[in-house]
Symmetry: C2
């Protein structure tokens, strides 16, 4: 008997979760829920219904776990607590500063309903968070660095698209190799924002647009680009579609510490991802399995990956894991 998964929201992340479910024999997609008119949405999985989000609000949909694929700014703060009062839920809430509040809201709703709500799953927050915590627990006299990229930052790409005269844009965040090397050496360097990452932008400008003005608007944009060394390349729409249609990403969490005088120990966790949303969706699918199992054992409330024993995420039995993976 497989775990019945519902997906709420069918953007890049929702499609990533759908792809992940296909790879796991112990789970099945039972419905995709949408705020749009369901009849306008065609999904990749044959024979699975698309239903209105309103249908979920009865609390009676036959899903074991609902994976909520909404935005962190306005969707998830409302949706996750609301549906945690009815279903086991998973989200990828990634506004780091607001995680404590979101956790509390989901915890209250999920505990009252006897459900599990796993929040902030994915890779950062998510797998990177896990690795920051494991490394700090093992090497408390140490220091962690997080590098992102090379990868597409959707927030930065969107910021460029809002500049007048820009038709399309893609922004890559790139870690500085010298900084990575210094951290990996155990030197525990002090690094400024500029020393850690560079930003590379590919921009399609409208015909007759002032390219110099666009470039200036990008490299001086506060918060997004002003603190970085930024390069801007103007390309054609054809080149954009041909060379920049993917959403690769990744990065490294590097923790360097000492266990006694002069004895350095370095832990690195590194992701190299062809598709950010498909990887994130795969983490969410594994979390759906964990939520289902934990709830079946009578556990309820909000959880993050930090609260989940790793074996809950795996389709394999404890005996199998001990015999073949330990």
């Amino acid at each position: 008997m497989s775990i019945k998964i519902g997906i709420l929201g069918y953007g890049n992340l929702g499609r990533g979760v759908e792809a992940a479910i296909k790879q796991n024999d112990d789970m099945e997609l039972v419905a995709v829920y949408t705020r749009r008119d369901p009849s306008t949405l065609k999904i990749a999985t044959e024979g699975v219904p698309v239903r209105s989000q309103a249908a979920l609000e009865s609390g009676k949909e036959d899903v074991d776990v609902l994976v909520i694929c909404g935005g962190s700014a306005t969707d998830l703060p409302v949706m996750t607590p609301k549906f945690a009062a009815m279903y086991n839920v998973i989200d990828s809430f990634d506004t780091h500063a607001n995680i404590p509040t979101h956790f509390k809201n989901v915890d209250d709703a999920a505990k009252a309903a006897g459900k599990v709500g796993i929040i902030s799953a994915g890779w950062d927050p998510g797998m990177f968070s896990l690795n920051r915590v494991y490394a700090d627990a093992i090497l408390p006299s140490g220091r962690a660095y997080t590098f992102w990229g090379k990868g597409v930052s959707q927030g930065h790409s969107d910021a460029i698209r809002r500049i007048e005269g820009v038709l399309d844009a893609r922004q890559y965040t790139i870690p500085v190799e010298a900084a990575l090397d210094a951290v990996r050496s155990g030197a525990n360097p002090e690094l400024t924002t500029r020393q850690k990452h560079t930003r590379e932008c590919f921009v399609v400008a409208a015909e007759g647009a002032d390219k110099a003005a666009i470039e200036e608007a990008i490299v001086t944009m506060p918060n997004y680009f002003a603190d970085y060394d930024t390069t801007v390349h103007f390309i054609t729409m054809e080149e954009m579609k041909r060379d920049h249609s993917g959403l690769p990403h990744g990065g490294s969490v590097i923790h360097s510490g000492t266990t006694s005088d002069g004895v350095n120990q370095v832990i690195e966790y590194k992701l190299t991802l062809d598709s950010n949303p498909e990887f994130t969706g795969s983490v969410l699918a594994a979390c759906a399995r964990a939520a289902y199992r934990m709830n079946a054992e009578g556990i309820s409330g909000a959880k993050t990956l930090l609260d989940i024993a790793p074996a809950y995420l795996s389709a394999k039995s404890g005996d199998d894991l001990r015999a073949h993976y330990l």
Copy 2:
């Protein structure tokens, strides 16, 4: 109030645990236990008693967690179940093939006593196992590779020391860069033993010993060296002491998988350790904290790192972790 830790066995690993306890404010070393005459053992921590292993057998020693630092061949299969019947215990049992049996023996003893016994902690088994399981749970259509080194293999060093005419020896296991690169590229290569690692040996020969015969005995030794490209360097005892007194180690677990057609995702967990026993000791100390906390919540039985929610390993509170590490 700090967690009272006892260490049983004071070799390299016991000293590594002792060093780790010094770095953690929430734990204190209360005694070192030994099979030797306690009066002959001088430990690094001032004011902490050295006691006989026999003292533990009363079951009345005032320790919250006993970290057992014995060998996997003959010590731990007996000691860990025995003391799990009296105390919360931690070990680093690393004979992979016998882990299921050891787990069962410790589980039976610990459950009957209402204690927690964490087995096979360290880095392999341990942190490497964790990363194999996380990666397989996220990317089930994938494949994991484990590389070890560059680092000292104590078993291989010992094997060389048993050859006639050898006064001392140190063997380094070295991963083959081309193999690492192929795996990191996502190519999922088939790799033979010889293609993954090389072995480099530093040997001090007795005066007048037949060096050619020693070298031949090493490179043809079944199981240990015959399947590898092995190089042998003869050095002086002085060079051995000067250049090869450390116990560095490390390695990588690399899992490469696809989330849909042609979409590669690569996860790498890499350790670069100046001191293998101090790092292993640091993992054991974090596990001691987890055992203490889980037992305080009424949990009992055998556990591995796969069964421990990561937050149990950290000295920081859930609120603190969510606010600053997630």
